[in-house]
Amino acid sequence: MKPVQFLSNSPKVKQIINGLTLTKSLFVASIVVGEPYIGKKSLVESIFPKGTFINGSDCDTLMHALQTQEEIIIYNFESILDLSRYDFANKRIIAIANNIHNSISIEEKFAFIYHMPSLQERPEDLSLLLEHFSNAISQELLITTDTAIDIKQLDLSENIKSFRASIYRQLITANIDQEALEHLIYKYLYEKIEGNNAYRDLLGLFERPLIKAGLSKYRSQLKLSSILGLNRNTLRKKINEHNIN
């Protein structure tokens, strides 16, 4: 299996990596807590590539593993409702959790409690991850890798999940040609076309991005009306109709 490499320039993440690496040979219980999709599992996997990963919601498997193994990695740790059932003494436990229900129990069970920062709290990681995901996605989509990505347009609301999705979107839209675009619109229209006023209903699909792009580019309704070959009043009417600011 290909070893997992965890990419980060964040000092806090590096300290977590150092801490986990130092305790690799010790029988201590550690927990990594942080928002979903920030790379907690990948980080642990990069340090414990041969570790036994067990879902915290699988009580029976977890109980059996605790009785038979000395090193266990428990993900979805927040799924465990009754922590008192499990004995972590003299085992190497690495737990991964999106949140902590009972901080007192956690403090009693775990010696090392790491709070991993979200992607928004790791600005130094953005360009590194952008390069990594851009290359991977470009290879996957068979497109050129020199497409410029607007870092301000990347979505960090759901950490790496939304970040990666927004790179996908930017790369696809930047590399789409007229034929592919027409094909996409065709597929969309084929699904949506119905009723008795479909022409007017679906015209916005063309008019809205056209007017928005024109206003962004020329910054003047007068100029745009001239470029589009429309009467100024007609353009204003359409701007109001489509609620374009």
Binding site: Q15, N18, T23, L26, F27, E107, A111, Y114, H115
Partner: protein
Amino acid sequence: MSIISTDFKFFIENDINPFILFSSKGSILYLNKSAELILGIDTQKELFSLALSHAPQSFGNRMTAIELSFSSFDFYGLNTLYVNDNEIGLQLYSRPRPKITKEGKLEGYSLTDLNLLLQANIELFNINYCGKISLMTDYSMPDIQLQQNSFSRLLRKVFAQFGSTLSVEITLNVKMGSIVIISDKKYPIFSLKLTADHRKNTIDHAIDELALSNHIDTKFQHNTIVLEIPAIT
């Protein structure tokens, strides 16, 4: 009570509590074996001064509850005695050391590189600490028996006391002249000391309890915590 005639010197000589007999000018007329371990040039003056300041108003003895530390030994009280104007006796009462369980069989303990465990705890502490950390340690120290998870929890709590300080000095070394006896075997004591300009002391009791469960002795000062760890190999 029956009256017996015997020489009590042997019993005093071998008492675990230090006993010193001073002349009226402060020179030592007699000291038992335990007192030899705590005595230095400065300590002699300090002990004589202590005897005078806690002496009873007239002949007899006076016991005082007081926290004292000399060399690596801790005491919880003293007894000052005199029966004439030429001699004054001082006895110090040793603080008991934490008890080690069942003939040295330590359940859940494993041989541990204390420096490695300490380094991992420093990394954890340093994630949210803005001050400067300095570490002085002896990397040649042997691995010792520790309950690794419980001991690390103790370290986490100890470090947390220094979270708002500007800098913290950490010293790990062998405590010279101190031993702990477990099942007739002598082991040295490792001393882990954390010092800063101040510290939070709100969970001293919890730290003390956790330390005791790890057979570790603690000393608290307003800006310092010392853990005395039996170096069981």
